[in-house]
Point group: C2
């Protein structure tokens, strides 16, 4: 390296430092807002879509229910914050989770401005039951959920609509079922969430033709009638064969 190059190198380094300081100082001047994540945790039990809520620990929301949420830590990506909330509150890992929408009405939180990012997650209530730590946690039927704090009812509604739409194009709903499930259970799931009736034979044909169901060779054993076959969903195969394009339709 020539000395001219060395000097130019030093100069460049100084410029970089100055530029960095400039940016840091600029960011210092920005208004700051507390950020939370709120998880809409769906479960499926008794042929009903449920949502996991906790009693508000704020005096002014005495008796009201809230979503599971928390502030974002410094240097924590919001996806990670949402996973952390799930872990801390339910003890579960590896749960399906997706960002849905950010809510920012100035007065949505009575304590001052707080922006929240809503996440939607789906888990199997049977697995989950073992891990609930906090007895102020309860599963509520989504359709009748009410008396909620903040704008959490609105967030729930948005996430429910999101789920209904997403179910049609993605098999995320299977996260609500046990690993092995009967076709009846699967159909009940779709019927309950979408709030429609489906023809049993056509539903079967549809799922079999997608060819993502693996026959376990096992049967239901807790049923008071002819037991149905149990299937697993082939998530690997799905992720290689997703549909790309379904045509213009509105």
């Amino acid at each position: 390296m020539s000395s001219a190059e060395a000097i130019s190198g030093i100069k460049k380094q100084e410029d970089t430092n100055n530029a960095l300081e400039q940016v840091q100082q600029l960011v210092e001047t920005y208004p700051r807002v507390p950020i939370t994540v709120d998880c809409v945790i769906f479960g499926f039990d008794n042929n009903e879509l449920k949502v996991l809520l906790i009693r508000s620990d704020l005096e002014m929301f005495d008796g009201k229910w809230t979503l599971l949420g928390d502030f974002a830590h410094d240097d924590e990506e919001l996806d990670d914050a949402a996973y952390r909330v799930l872990r801390e509150r339910t003890g579960m890992r590896d749960v399906y989770l997706e960002q849905v929408k950010t809510f920012s009405k100035p007065h949505r939180h009575p304590g001052g401005r707080v922006i929240t990012v809503a996440y939607c997650s789906l888990l199997n209530t049977e697995h989950h039951a073992l891990n609930i730590l906090d007895n102020e946690l309860h599963w509520h039927t989504v359709k009748t959920a009410c008396n909620m704090a903040f704008d959490h009812k609105e967030i729930l509604d948005v996430c429910y609509k999101w789920l209904q739409k997403r179910m049609l194009e993605h098999p995320l709903g299977l996260n609500l079922l046990p690993e092995k499930f009967s076709l009846r259970e699967l159909q009940n799931l779709y019927e309950a969430i979408l709030d429609i009736k489906l023809d049993r034979r056509n539903f079967r044909k549809k799922f079999f033709s997608m060819d993502f169901l693996i026959d376990t060779g096992e049967y239901e054993d807790d049923v008071h009638h002819r037991p149905g076959r149990l299937y697993r969903f082939d998530f690997d195969k799905y992720s290689q064969n997703k549909k790309k394009w379904t045509g213009i339709e509105f």
Copy 2:
């Protein structure tokens, strides 16, 4: 009101005040983060999808391009902030705008932690051309856009994918065309954005059968061949007749 009731009323008021203070103090303790909105502004010109970018005014991003963004003001809902950015930068009002996703990687901004909410907007470049105030603003071809600051390339990619998907289920793409347009222009729009070829006759049949196109009775007049009819899109009719359900498909 009895004096007991009055006392109880005062007590309740005090409780409320206390509770409010409690919540406010709690929110005070939350970590705070600067929030920005970034608008991915799409246009359509020369049969190509374009995106409006501005040169970064930060020294360390010398020569790089960024999305149009700004900090959220105090007490400003983020949707409003995004509309404000659009107004301030392009002079346009009443532009189609939708929240897409929140980006929160801890080091996405070199000046420290900044969380940004990405909005996608679509506007007609002809109308818009008149209003550009800042000559560091430029339309870039989306496919070849590069050399972007921050994580703005990633945001652009996510919004482009979002647009491709959204186009199939919602007529938002029509915001990219002039009010009156030919079917050829409409088809070019879909072909360019979705990056596919479509059969002309089937495309026409499809749109005519949806029955949202209003024949203006007018014709193109700037073409060097047989002029096509001009149509308007009936947004009112659309908003009353949206499809609800398109079947399970994944």
